[in-house]
Symmetry: C2
Subunit: 247 residues, 2 copies
Amino acid sequence: MTHMSPKIPCKQCPLRATGAFSANTDSEIEFIEHMKKREISVGAGSSILREGDDRKELFTLLSGWAFRYRTLSDGRRQIFNFLLPGDFIGLQHQLDARHPHGVETLTESTLCVFPSDRLWDLYRTHPALGFDITWLTANEELIVDENLLSVGRRSATERIAMLMIHLYKRAERLGMVEPDGLRLPLNQQHIADALGLSLVHTNKTLKRLNAAGLYTLKDGRLKLVNPAAMARLADYYALPLRPRPLI
Amino acid sequence: MTHMSPKIPCKQCPLRATGAFSANTDSEIEFIEHMKKREISVGAGSSILREGDDRKELFTLLSGWAFRYRTLSDGRRQIFNFLLPGDFIGLQHQLDARHPHGVETLTESTLCVFPSDRLWDLYRTHPALGFDITWLTANEELIVDENLLSVGRRSATERIAMLMIHLYKRAERLGMVEPDGLRLPLNQQHIADALGLSLVHTNKTLKRLNAAGLYTLKDGRLKLVNPAAMARLADYYALPLRPRPLI
DNA sequence: GGAGGGCAATGTAGTAAGACATAGCCGCGA
DNA sequence: TCGCGGCTATGTCTTACTACATTGCCCTCC
């Protein structure tokens, strides 16, 4: 399932070509490339990190979709966030001997793997990269805040509208939206677990939103028919599009 | 309401005396002290940051309680987290021109104020402090994750149990628990807004937990009668007690 | 071609939680 | 001493959401 891939040189990183990420100096990119231990490719539904793991590694999702979650001891699961290319994984690990959450892929994915014991070197020799890592962490927190607002205070309909528009915008920025829509690899159980809803209620609410003509979903391709109405429904406020760091 | 206080030298910071925080070198403490622009004291219910603010400042809560929240345009409010002494405020601001959330005090509080344009200097000249800031950010995210798990997947009873034990443990670590219990400056509306519940339902659930003998709350003093039962109810997992950074 | 698994759709019934209204308590200030 | 505002308490009614059960569709695998 998991296997090593030939290591793509960071200088030719396909993500950097999208324009969504901020530039780095040659020295910084060399450092990242040197720190990058290997690259792995995994299938859909693979576990990258398990809850309670003590693996000391950091990852950058290079391609594919994944999600971060945690389960209660009786099996109830909450998805914290969905991960898209460029997202950084594993920092929480610094806080505890074990990983507080799990990470699982939704599609075939490739990931860059970094040993976490090089992290301190990174801060010491390239403070700008250290700053970038803080940025990425703060950004992740911002998204979780937003999800908490959804789950805590939005209705089921609003939550789904919010999730759709939010994922759509994030993917759009990475150039993942194609003419026939966005390939959305979530099933209804994922949506339910991300939004704190039951599977059945998610299904019914999705149908209602669909019947209202707000979106179409054919063969896993999502199209927002009326993004403005969707955004209004969700009380969505878009952050300005600025290049973001990439490690 | 807000007024400047005489600046406490960081070396004699009362928080450092609690033992809950990790040590810093003299040079680091000098840098922090130099970066600290001023100190402010505010009353209970003061707004430190408003949603949408464009103030470019960072804060450390030196004493008192506060909370971080956001409101939807129709007024529904979600509290993301409660802030205790030592918590760092304002980093999200780096991501956008405006502050995505508000911060309000629950008690009289004092805060250290740092200009955010010194932040880059901090990373450059004291990488270990940069690392600490990442740590604090990741830690905040961890707590929000936990809250999202509560609001998304725990029952009302479990949510309240979780909130109580979580706040209790955090406060305990800072030496804020006194023989007659912990001074808890939240009202039921705060609890409701943090847990995604209505005020009425919060009230009834509190009463039930109280009747079950799990806690007592007299004159704002919280005591956990049976912390183990509370923890079991909440499926609570405590992070190991390690010293944490302080800026 | 049939069995089986993963997923969406739908009906029914039950319940946890919300909405609304009201009342009591307490501290505070005029 | 009275009224007022902030907070907790409680009752009743409603509903959004969950739990459970079933059906149907589309794959894939033998």
